[in-house]
């Protein structure tokens, strides 16, 4: 393959590429959301123990998985930016943070609305819930720290350190239901397979795929504005047709 991958590590070429890719992720995402929600509500049977309330799982589990994976991807990009001093990696980390924070919030919100009818409480200071709350604070801390430093390159380095150190929290969230005796139920999806009904699996994996595509689309769309903002003094931005009045 004669593709020069490093070509796309330059903000100017990546800006073009990201713009072309966004619709290819956005529309399949919308379609998969529709399919997943349809299966989740009209095909998947009622749960024997939790009744209709269990249907929250189809949005709760995918957003929780995304909140953890997006953090690791964000920390990975931040680390690349820190080690190799690549501008685009740091911009990608900044673009991922708000989406990751929103998925962490959806995870906590849907969890509260599921916990109330099942456990009788919106919130408990359980290991799983508490570590997920810390994840949300780490995202917010990353965003706030980056915004508080005027020089963007220094902001990249400081927030990269926070992101890298904070990534220790992700395995804590994942294994919390095993390591501690928690109120939160065990993992629904395991590496060794799942015990769910086939239609429930189809609904959950459709929404999971939809969330992935959504996160990619919205991150690519956001990073384009970040690239323009931070490269505004360069020749290629000055020559962009969309920036001409």
């Amino acid at each position: 393959m004669a593709i020069n991958w490093f070509k796309y590590s330059a903000p100017a070429t990546f800006y073009e590429l990201a713009g072309k890719l966004v619709p290819w992720f956005a529309w399949p995402s919308a379609l998969l959301f529709a399919i997943g929600v349809y299966i989740g509500f009209f095909v998947a049977p009622t749960d024997a123990v939790q009744g209709e309330a269990y249907r929250i799982i189809f949005i709760h589990v995918p957003s929780s998985i995304l909140s953890m994976f997006l953090y690791l991807i964000m920390a990975g990009y931040a680390a690349l930016g820190l080690i190799f001093n690549t501008r685009l990696s740091s911009m990608m980390a900044s673009a991922l943070a708000p989406t990751g924070a929103l998925f962490a919030f959806i995870s906590l919100w849907t969890g509260a609305l599921w916990g109330k009818p099942m456990w009788g409480a919106w919130w408990v200071w359980d290991a799983r819930l508490t570590s997920e709350l810390i994840l949300l604070f780490l995202y917010l801390g990353f965003i706030a720290l980056h915004a508080s430093i005027d020089d963007p390159r220094r902001a990249d380095r400081a927030s990269a350190l926070l992101a890298i150190v904070g990534s220790v929290n992700v395995p804590i969230i994942y294994f919390s239901v095993k390591w501690w005796n928690t109120l939160h139920q065990g993992s629904t999806v395991k590496f060794t397979g799942t015990s769910m009904h086939v239609a429930m699996q189809q609904a959950m994996f459709s929404v999971l795929a939809a969330c992935w595509l959504y996160a990619i689309a919205v991150t690519l769309a956001r990073v384009r504005s970040i690239i323009l903002e931070r490269e505004r003094n360069t020749q290629w931005v000055a020559e962009l047709p969309e920036a001409r009045s």
Partner: protein
């Protein structure tokens, strides 16, 4: 099953629709914010250029 039964979710309607409703709301808001940021960024670029022309 009729629609009012469907939306009632056997008494769990508030919890189920509260979950999906919030998720949908957040996605819509995030998409709107990203689009707004793009508009603002392009506007700023134009203003920056116009200011340079005047100098």
């Amino acid at each position: 099953m009729n629609w009012s039964e469907f939306f009632a979710m056997k008494g769990y309607g508030f919890y189920v629709w509260g979950s999906y409703g919030m998720a949908l709301l957040i996605f819509i808001i995030e998409i709107a914010l990203v689009r707004h940021k793009r508009t603002i960024t392009l506007q700023e670029l134009r203003m920056l250029r116009d200011a340079e022309k005047e100098e």
